[in-house]
Symmetry: C2
Subunit: 131 residues, 2 copies
DNA sequence: TCAATAGTTCGGAACCACCGAACTATTGAA
DNA sequence: TTCAATAGTTCGGTGGTTCCGAACTATTGA
């Protein structure tokens, strides 16, 4: 079974729930913040280099798919690798202020965590982390 | 095993991920929008009356717990029933513009859906909805 | 043609969410 | 004080979702 073509929802099909779900994951919001921040394309390996967490590429691939199908990014092949760019202009038109507010909140939170130095569990712990 | 005391995170413990996760569910965002809109307390039975969807009370109870533990609402007993109020002032201080943007986006989306008349599946369908 | 690189798909295990049943807590009346 | 009624919580099972390693597809450059 070959690779299915990349799925991009039209801007009207994009939902708030989809966006919030996509960005409620620490890894995905980090990826997305990165894509938005550096106004240049971004791909899986690039993210692996930036964050030195060891996230399997299959997992990363799915994270990118979730972001794409939520309408947050647009992915296209360029040669052997993928270019992912944010759809923030369209999104700003559909849901004014939403993306900005989320990214800004994420920045505020990261700053706070950096200050307190403790790499706090960012969520009620979605997977029971041990013993 | 008795009932555990209600858990309210301090405002500094509130995370963006937690908020987005909590509000990425159609039912929860509807409850929350309701609580924010009518600047008065709100409870489970009240919501059941407002939305005429038949959501089991055990499920509703858990939805309220998620909202509470994400720091979005504050719940306290008043007699036999619960009063739920939004913590939007604190939240506005911690993450300026976030709540407003999400609620506003939700409003925009609802308006759009009402216009097109089709009760569109709001999400890529988290639980396979049928057949 | 083939090795290297980048990403996708698949399968299974771990995790999480939903809902009915049984429970706790509070009130008001008998 | 006992009891029925009301409001909500907890538990357990089932079924959907996510994660990750292994195997695969796709593209490029030698």
């Amino acid at each position: 079974m070959g690779m299915r073509p990349l799925l991009h929802p039209s801007i009207n099909e994009v939902t708030v729930e989809g966006i919030l779900h996509a960005l409620s994951d620490p890894v995905r919001v980090a990826i997305y913040a990165d894509i938005v921040a550096q106004e240049c394309p971004h791909n899986c390996s690039n993210f692996l280099r930036v964050s030195n967490k060891a996230i399997p590429k299959s997992t990363l691939s799915q994270h990118f798919r979730v972001l794409r199908e939520a309408g947050l990014i647009r992915s296209e092949r360029h040669g052997v690798e993928m270019q992912n760019i944010s759809r923030c202009i369209e999104l700003e038109q559909r849901f004014p202020g939403l993306i900005r507010a989320i990214v800004s909140a994420h920045t505020i939170q990261s700053a706070g965590e950096a200050r307190t130095k403790k790499p706090v569990p960012k969520r009620p712990s979605r997977r029971a982390t041990a013993q």
